[in-house]
């Protein structure tokens, strides 16, 4: 491990002033420290921001949530407001990692997890994300759990965070403090597709510090479902964050995002568009899923993800529709 200095920021502004080119902010360390041990990340300086006073959820005037970036994943998932108003978010967080890791991991750090592609994690192999310009062995090598959507010649990695998938479906936005002051980035624009710059996971600029995630009110039943070989403590093969508002048998509103399929949480805009105003039936759900997955470009060994994602969309929406049918009007906000 390359020698580094460790400092504790006294405030967000202080963190920014301590940040130079080779600095990383340290949250729970559950991903960064592992990558440092592997030599994948070699920061010269760690600025600890985990103890900064961003560890609470505040209610916003419109009834949404402002979730502090230093809040632990465990605390987020256990929060009653989150569990009642945004159940898919609590479910997504609980679907990730293990209890011990969630106790350490922060909301900000969770968003910035790096891909689990095995080539990225091995410094003795080429990887455009880790070492730009060296090539992508995953395209022809082991990629059974890599991307089917939005990948590029340069990179077929997937974004590993479950929480980010739920936040994408929830139309969340990320509050960032940067050199030019505060700004807000819509969740769907926070993570990038790889294009020719797979080394950039997000649109963050050097020194940017995530301070909070804002989640607007949801007001319809939602669910997060994660498919994986192992029942727990595994990254998604495909996951889905879905919310569905059905009135009189028709889709009034819908939110859909997929995990495990792309370099970013994949907001299924096409499927959503295909569903609004349509009958809440299996046929509509299937057509919507196919409309979204039309763009899929599976690799040699991950074509199974296409029917998996399709089935997952249909199944999850069907279950949400059945729940809406069973519920009396006005009770749609409980899970």
């Amino acid at each position: 491990m390359r020698p580094f200095t460790y400092e504790r920021a006294t405030s967000a502004e202080d963190a920014l002033t301590r940040h130079d080119g080779e600095t990383y902010y340290l949250g729970g360390g559950t991903n960064l420290v592992d990558l440092m041990r592997l030599g994948v990340e070699t920061p010269a300086r760690l600025v600890d921001v985990a103890h900064l006073p961003y560890d609470e959820i505040q209610l916003t005037p419109d009834g949404g949530l402002l979730i502090g970036a230093a809040m632990s994943n465990s605390a987020l998932a256990a929060d009653r407001t989150v569990r009642e108003g945004h159940p898919m978010l609590a479910q997504a967080v609980l679907a990730g990692a293990s209890g011990q890791i969630r106790n350490m991991a922060t909301v900000g750090g969770n968003l910035l997890q790096r891909t689990r592609c095995s080539y990225f994690q091995d410094t003795a192999k080429p990887c455009n994300k880790r070492d730009p310009g060296t090539g992508c062995p995953a395209r022809e090598g082991e990629h059974h759990n890599l991307a089917i959507l939005g990948h590029s010649e340069a990179c077929v990695a997937t974004q590993p965070s479950d929480m980010a998938v739920a936040l994408s479906a929830l139309d969340a936005s990320v509050h960032v403090l940067g050199r030019a002051g505060e700004r807000t980035i819509p969740m769907d624009e926070f993570h990038r597709l790889p294009d020719n710059e797979p080394e950039r996971d997000t649109v963050l600029e050097p020194g940017d510090l995530v301070t909070a995630v804002e989640v607007p009110p949801l007001g319809m039943p939602s669910r997060y479902r994660k498919v994986r070989e192992r029942a727990s403590f595994a990254f998604a093969l495909v996951s889905i964050a879905a919310a569905l508002d059905v009135r009189e048998g028709a889709v009034r509103d819908v939110r859909l995002a997929l995990g495990g399929v792309a370099h970013k949480p994949w907001r299924a805009w096409r499927a959503e568009e295909a569903l609004r105003g349509r009958p809440a039936t299996r046929e509509s759900f299937l057509r919507a899923a196919e409309a979204e997955l039309d763009a899929a470009e599976p690799l040699r060994d991950n074509a199974y993800k296409v029917p998996l994602a399709r089935n997952l969309i249909v199944r999850t929406l069907t279950e949400l529709a059945e729940r809406a049918e069973a519920a009396e009007p006005g009770e749609g906000t409980t899970s």
């Binding site: 003795a124 022809e140 082991e142 070989e229 249909v314």
Partner: protein
């Protein structure tokens, strides 16, 4: 039911493992792995590493001391410029701190003349050959009658090929060693090993030392599953590094480095042919296996050997062929041979059950035998049928509808499966000492290993019974090569082999006590009678002659495993709802730890069925999933309802305890039971492991 004697130490963290011994002036080792899959080392650049403050030594093929006589190629650390597989240790750094050593290891610059590695196992490989024997000493090929012809003329024929992937042992405690040389050239190793005596003799041979000059200490070991059965390169590296640095060193192999350097189970390709009458009676069994070894050392997994034991059939052939590839050397992993072999055989038996329309339990009963089919020897005991019947009753097998793909619960398909288990009742010669202490207690010493199995507790129970003493008055000391020489904790032979030596030593001690104390009972109340000298009274045993004199029997444990699975029809996720194993393994010495052994093996079998696969990268030539986040073993959520039971078995032909081994049989057949249940649930017969959503989805 006796709780593990060292439970408190283990759960409170005071049980000391190899890396944890306080050693003064200790330095740390970090190893450099080959970054090419095959080739020659042309240069080793050490300047940058040596320039780092705190670096004590850099070792490689360019400066390593010559070893005397490494007993296998994997132990010839830094003795040649040849790279035999990617990830092989090619250099190492000794540093004042672990961090320094690891950073310096990153700075060592090794240059290679690389060649493309050949790492893909295939049945048409031009280098395929017949090994001289398979592990440990079985013939590679056997044949009885006219198997091909009889198979071809059988009324019912099943001819299928099953494949299993490479799998890694992944003990929780990594391979770890502290090495110290004293001023007389004596070597002490605190080592995480399954056999202190084995490490002692093999390391002594490697360095040209008298074995008495090497001491190996390993009272607590955090698992091994076979990977610590013989020393791996890390032990030699630690000893070499301590010599080079002139300091004691610690070396724990990082998890990522274990995948290339500490052993794994070979992938297998198994063609099985079963020829039977319409009533399911087997006429011919052919089991032909292709598997891999390295170019460094031959390891031939005995995959087809259970087919020589399981079922009657007048015509039989088993064969093993190896391909030497540019890969790390495969080695022992829990029930080598039986685990992949019985996965295939017991899956094919399920296929035959369906082909003949006979219930899979009935099919196995019809093909049961009271003599080992190939050797013709009588079984010392064989209670396979009792296990199947007891298991069927407990599991609720009766009335099972054999139709596949028809039991729906919501969007989930439900199915059940059964498979048989078997494992040889091995036993090795051992020595032990039993002592009567002046304070009325007893001490038993043997260089055995407790790798988490409960061996210490079992041996204490055996000693207490023989001595007619209270368990609390018996102290078992093991895990030290200074104690009487013991066999490795492998082949499920520990309790049988070590236990016999303990019994004989305790019997000899009782005889001495009876002689020493007039009218004495030789029991626990010898204290205070003045007959025990202050230094205690001691008796020793060596079971070598006793083992040689044993009658000829086929000695094996048997079992039956049952699984119920649910398969999500939309996602292909498979979950094992419940699992039951019933075993006939002689007398069970300690039910508490025995149950842990059985269900631990079964859990590992669930992993084999559904999760575990070491993925070889054909371009680079190494295993890609190199940590527990990427190599999946079952988590608690995968093990919902798992139970093990055993049938009473009294077998006078085994050993004084009447025990068979229990460490491995739990994994044998488990994957087949799960795979057969998946077939029953879905109608999809998957013939390669693991069974995953990617495999199932196209056919669901």
């Amino acid at each position: 039911m006796t709780e593990r004697l060292e439970s408190r130490e283990k759960v409170t963290g005071t049980a000391r493992y190899a890396f944890e011994y306080p050693v003064e002036n200790v330095a740390y080792v970090a190893a450099v792995q080959a970054s090419v899959g095959r080739g020659e080392i042309t240069a080793v650049g050490t300047e940058a590493a040596m320039a780092l403050p705190g670096v004590l030594a850099v070792l490689s093929c360019e400066n390593a001391p010559r070893l005397s006589d490494p007993p296998d190629g994997e132990l010839a650390v830094f003795q040649s410029r040849t790279v035999s597989y990617r990830g092989q240790f090619v250099a190492a750094v000794v540093g004042e701190t672990l961090e320094t050593a690891r950073e310096a290891a990153r700075l060592v610059h090794v240059e290679y003349a690389p060649e493309a590695p050949d790492v893909r196992l295939r049945t048409d490989h031009p280098s395929l050959y017949q090994p001289g024997k398979v592990n440990p000493v079985f013939p590679a090929d056997t044949e009885q009658g006219e198997p091909e012809e009889v198979f071809n003329n059988s009324a019912v024929r099943v001819d299928v090929t099953y494949t299993t992937p490479a799998e890694h042992n992944n003990p929780m405690e990594p391979h770890a060693t502290i090495a110290l040389w004293d001023e007389h050239g004596y070597l002490t190793l605190y080592d995480s090993t399954q056999g202190a005596s084995t490490v002692q003799s093999m390391v002594a041979q490697t360095f040209g030392l008298d074995p008495s000059h090497v001491r190996v200490v390993a009272p607590h070991v955090g698992g091994g599953f076979g990977s610590k059965g013989i020393p791996k390169p890390n032990v030699v590296l630690a000893a070499m590094a301590a010599g080079a640095a002139g300091r004691p060193v610690k070396f724990a192999v990082p998890r990522q480095q274990m995948y290339a350097t500490t052993g794994y189970r070979t992938p297998t390709i198994q063609r099985l042919r079963l020829g039977a009458d319409n009533d399911g009676r087997l006429n011919a069994i052919l089991h032909d296996v292709v598997e891999q070894t390295s170019t460094v050392k031959e390891f031939a997994e005995q995959t087809a050997t259970p087919t020589r034991v399981m079922y009657q059939a007048p015509h039989r052939r088993t064969s093993h062929r190896l391909v030497p590839l540019d890969v790390p050397t495969p080695s022992w992993m829990r029930a080598p041979g039986e685990t992949p072999g019985m996965y295939a055989l017991e899956s094919v038996m399920d296929e035959l059950a369906i082909a003949t329309g006979i219930d899979p339990i009935e099919l196995r009963i019809r093909n049961d035998t009271d003599r080992e089919p190939e050797s013709g020897l009588p079984f010392s005991s064989r209670n396979l049928v009792a296990c199947l019947q007891e298991g069927a009753a407990r599991f609720g097998w009766a009335g099972r509808d054999p139709a596949t793909g028809v039991r729906w619960e919501g969007r989930k398909l439900i199915g059940t499966g059964v498979a048989a288990s078997t494992y040889p009742a091995y036993m090795s010669p051992n020595r032990a000492i039993a002592r009567a202490e002046p304070d009325g207690t007893f001490t038993v010493r043997i260089a055995a290993a407790d790798i988490g199995t409960g061996a210490r507790t079992a041996l204490a129970l055996i000693a207490a019974e023989t001595l007619k003493a209270d368990l609390g008055d018996v102290r078992v000391e093991l895990g030290d090569s200074a104690f009487p020489r013991a066999s490795v904790a492998g082949g499920s032979s520990g309790t049988a082999g070590w236990g016999t030596a303990v019994v004989r030593a305790c019997e000899a001690l009782r005889a001495k006590l009876n002689g020493a104390v007039a009218g004495g009972r030789g029991g626990s109340s010898h204290a205070g009678n003045g007959a025990i000298p202050p230094e205690g009274l001691e008796a020793a045993a060596d079971t070598g002659a006793e083992l040689k004199a044993r009658e000829k029997y086929a000695r094996h444990a048997f079992g039956a495993q049952f699984a119920e699975v649910e398969v999500d029809a939309d996602t292909g996720e498979v979950r094992v709802r419940r699992m039951l194993g019933v075993f006939a393994a002689g007398r069970i010495i300690n039910p508490a730890t025995a149950r842990s052994q059985f269900i631990g093996g079964m859990t590992m079998g669930v992993g084999m069925a559904l999760l575990e696969e070491s993925v070889m990268d054909e371009e680079f030539g190494d295993f890609l999933n190199r940590d527990l986040a990427q190599y999946h073993v079952p988590a608690c959520a995968d093990v919902r309802d798992i139970d093990a039971a055993w049938v009473e078995e009294s077998d006078p032909h085994l050993n004084p305890m009447g025990s068979k081994g229990i460490g491995e049989i739990g994994i044998v057949g488990a994957a087949a039971a799960v795979g057969n249940a998946v077939h029953h649930a879905t109608g999809i017969r998957v013939r390669h492991l693991p069974i995953t959503p990617a495999t199932l989805l196209p056919d669901l």
